[in-house]
Subunit: 342 residues, 2 copies
Amino acid sequence: MTTIRDVATAAGVSRATAARVLSSPELVAEKTRARVLEVVERLGYSRNSVAASLRTTRTGRIVVTVPDISNPFFSRVIRGVEEAAQEAGYAVLLGDTRNDRDREEQYAEMLNRREADGIIFLGHRLPTTLARILDRDGSRAPIVNGCEFTPSLGVSSAHIDNAGAAREVMESLYTMGHRDIALVLGPPDSPLTRDRLIGAQRAAEDHGLIGRLIAESGDFSVESGRRAANVLLSLDRPPTAIFCFSDEMAIGTLAAARSAQISCPEALSVVGFDDIQMARYVDPPLTTVRQPMADIGRKTVELLLDILHGRQAGPVSATLPHRLIIRQSVGLGPFGRPGAPA
Amino acid sequence: MTTIRDVATAAGVSRATAARVLSSPELVAEKTRARVLEVVERLGYSRNSVAASLRTTRTGRIVVTVPDISNPFFSRVIRGVEEAAQEAGYAVLLGDTRNDRDREEQYAEMLNRREADGIIFLGHRLPTTLARILDRDGSRAPIVNGCEFTPSLGVSSAHIDNAGAAREVMESLYTMGHRDIALVLGPPDSPLTRDRLIGAQRAAEDHGLIGRLIAESGDFSVESGRRAANVLLSLDRPPTAIFCFSDEMAIGTLAAARSAQISCPEALSVVGFDDIQMARYVDPPLTTVRQPMADIGRKTVELLLDILHGRQAGPVSATLPHRLIIRQSVGLGPFGRPGAPA
DNA sequence: TTGTACGCGTTATCAC
DNA sequence: GTGATAACGCGTACAA
C-alpha cells in the first residue's frame, strides 16, 4: 500500500507538505499542490483512516443499535440515520440487538474501545456501559436515544408525542360512535406502551368510558396481534374497535377478524400505529398514526452531531410531528350517526 | 482515557507484559496476570482499537451495501449478515446506496482507506473501485456479492437458483390450467430479472406457449407492481395469471385487481417472489418463492471470512435452496381440471 | 511556504 | 516469564 511517505518522495516534498495538501490545501503553494495531487492520482494514494484516527482521536463512525433491523418501522428509521450520517461524513456501524441485553452491552462497549465517536440506541434500555459514560461525562456524552423517550435517562432523544397521538386515535373512535374499545399494547416495560396507554386512558376518562376500555398485551409483532385479537373477539362483549399499538399487530388483527368471518370495517374497526409501507396495501387499508420514521432517524443523528461538535450539550428532547391517517379500516360504531366524518 | 501504559505502571510491569495479559494470557505467570487484571478492572481499561488496528492492519469490520435497507427483502438479508458477522467478531458498516453509483463507489472506497477488512455488496453493479482491487489482488480480494450472481464479475456470491425457481412457478401455473401468463419483471439490467426471465421462458417453451407469455417491467416496488398490473389487466386478452418477480409487486398487483373488481384467485392468480413476512398476511395469502434471506446474508459473510482468513480463494458460487410456497393466491385456470393440485 | 520532529496506543520482535 | 524498543501511518506545533 502506498503511504503519504511514498507520495512525498515521488513529489519531491516533505511528508508534512504532502499531508497538508490533503488536509489543508490552502496552506500550500499552487504549484506544489498540483504536483502532489498529480502523484496522489498516479500512485492511487488513499489515506489510511486508521492512522489518521489514531492521530485525531476521531473515527468518523457512529454505532446504531436496533432491536430488529428487519422490522419495517426500524428499518425506515435506520435509513434516515444512514442518510443523515452519510451526509455529515459519518459511517454507520449497525447493531441488531434482538432486545438482548448482552448484545446491547457489546455494542455499547465499542464506545470504550473507540471504535466509534458516538452511539444512537433505539430501544428503551440504557446499557450499563453507557450509563457509566453518562455518569462520567454528563450531558457531553455522545449518546442519543431514538423513538422512545424516558426523561430520567438523561440523554437526548427524538420521538413523537405518543400520548397525544393515542389520545387522538381514541377521540376519533369515540366520534365515530364506538364505545367498547380494546387496546393491543406493546410489551409492558416499554415507554412506548406506557405513553400511548396514558394517552388512550386519558381520552377514555374524558368521555367517562374508562370502565369500558379493555386491553391485551402483544409484542408489536403480527402474530402477537393476531393472538390478542383472537382473545378480544371471543369475549362475551367483544369490542367494536381495536386500537393496536403497531401496524403489524393491526395487520394480525385484520387476519384474525378475517378468520373469524368478522368483516372490517363493518363489524369491527381497526387502527394501527406507525404507518409502515404495508399499511396502505392491506385490505382494508389501515387507519393509523403516521410516524415520520426517516425524520426520527435523521434527527437522532443531528442530536448526536450537536454533542460531537460541541454545539449543544444538555439532554434535548425533540418531538417530531405525527399525523392521524384515515383510511378504510374504521367504520361507524353502534353510536355513530351516519353524518359523522368517515 | 487510560492506556495500557497506565495499566503497566499501576501493576508494576512493563507495557509488553500488560499487553500480553490481554492478548496471550497463557504466556504470563499466574500471579502477574492476576495483578494486571485487577488493575485493568480497577482502572476500567479498554483497549484502543484504533491503535491496535494500526499495528495489526486488521479492523474487524466489514462494509455491507444494499440498494435499500428499508426493503423487507434486504433488511432480512442484512439481519443474517449482522448475525454472522457478530458471531465471528466482526462489526458491520452499513451502506444504503439507493442504487446510486456515487454512493456505491463511496462505500467501496472504504476498503482503500482501510476502514474495513472486506466488503459485501448486495446489488449487481461492481463499483470500479472494487474492480480495480479485484484486478490487483485477484481472487484474494475481500469482496463478496450477494443475492444476484454474475459469474463474469469474478467474485464469490451467495444466491438461489433464480432461473430454476422461476421455472417451477411457471410449471405450477401451467399445471393449474393457466395458459395466458404475464410476468412482471424487475429492472431490465438486473441479473435477477435476467435469470428469472430465462427460467420462465424455458418453461413456456417446454409447453409450446412462449407465444402467449407476455411481460411488463417494474422495479420490484409495490407501486410499480400496481402500475404493471393495471396495464396487463386492461389488455384485450388479459392474462389469467400474473407472476411477479417480487412479493411487493405481487402485493401491488393484488391491489390493482381489487380496484378493478377482479377477484383473486377466482378470476386472477398471482404469484410473488421472496416470501417476505407480509406475503402470508395479505388477502389472499400469497403463493410465492421462498428465498432463505437470512441464510443468504450469513453465507455471504462466511464466503468473505473464507477469503479474509485465507481458507479459500477463487470465486465460489453458493447456491442456496429455495422453495415454492403454495398459499391461496393461485387458483385453477381455464384449462384446469378440478382434480388438479390446489 | 515548507520542513523537522514528535506522539497517538498498540503489537511484535528481540534479548535477557 | 519479562522487559526494551521498534514499528504502524498520519497530523500538526514549531521552527526555518
